[in-house]
């Protein structure tokens, strides 16, 4: 039997910004870069759409998304908030606290204008059904893009032929 190692997912990326700027952009401006269209709690099949994502800037603060109908869905609490150095949050996605997964992001200065961002996602296996739902949403999103865009492309080719 093949065994999957249940170890944290660790990702590292170098960014040409100071650690302080990168921290601010990662947290306060999370809605500017996070893939809201695919990786949220919104059920696209039910017509829900995520229009906002916010991190409250303190330990114990909320991380939540806002839906097109105004409802707010919690992702989890902020568990570390040290500007320019360390941000961590629970990634509960509606699951009980005992099933929380933990995302931790460290910002390490490489120079005055660059830093290394290292993200660790621990206990990811606890995502359970929410993980599956997200995956499904993501797949649906991709299928839609593929079928529509590719379908249109093929239709255009036929028209031109």
């Amino acid at each position: 039997m093949s065994v999957v190692e249940i170890s944290p997912i660790v990702k590292s990326i170098d960014v040409a910004r100071s650690a302080g700027d990168a921290f601010r952009m990662f947290t306060a401006e999370i809605d500017k870069w996070y893939p809201l269209e695919t990786h949220t709690r919104a059920k696209s099949s039910a017509g829900e759409k995520t229009i906002g994502l916010k991190v409250e800037p303190r330990v114990g603060g909320r991380v939540f998304e806002t839906l097109n109908d105004g409802r707010e869905l919690d992702w989890g609490q902020v568990t570390a908030y040290q500007p320019g150095a360390h941000f961590a949050m629970q990634w509960r996605l509606g699951r009980p606290a005992a099933d929380a997964t933990d995302v931790s992001v460290r910002f390490e200065a490489l120079s005055d204008a660059s830093c290394r961002v290292t993200l660790t996602h621990e206990n990811w296996e606890r995502m359970g059904e929410e993980g599956a739902k997200m995956r499904e949403n993501y797949n649906n999103g991709w299928v839609t893009v593929f079928e529509q865009r590719f379908g249109e492309y093929v239709a255009d080719l036929r028209r031109d032929a």
Binding site: M1, S2, V3, V4, I6, I9, K11, I13, V15, A16, R17, D21, A22, M25, F26, E29, K32, W33, Y34, P35, H39, A98, D99, V117, L119, H121, W124, E125, R126, M127, G128, E129, G131, A132, R135, Y138
Partner: protein, 86 residues
């Protein structure tokens, strides 16, 4: 729960014995994990035995791994393009 199942297949009772939660709560969580493809169950006598479904777990891990690659690449793009605008 996964810690228990990592050691080998177990029944709901065995899993609940090591956790500070009720048996129904364990059952419900196992059901959700089964739907998500992360565990499998089989009947053994009158009990249901649960085991980790390695393939489902690997799929979730691969998916998350790829997701964070994408998300961090987007973060980098955003952070560095923002720099040029100023």
């Amino acid at each position: 729960m996964f810690e228990t199942l990592r050691a080998g297949p177990a029944s709901v009772g065995e899993i609940a014995a090591g956790l500070p939660v009720s048996r129904p709560a364990v059952s419900q969580h196992l059901k959700a994990l089964k739907q998500a493809g992360l565990v499998r169950d089989e009947a053994r006598g009158t009990a249901r035995i649960y085991r980790i479904h390695a393939e489902g777990l690997r799929e979730l891990r691969d998916w998350l791994d790829g997701f964070w690659d994408d998300a961090l690449a987007r973060f980098k793009d955003y952070a560095e393009s923002e720099d040029e605008r100023r």
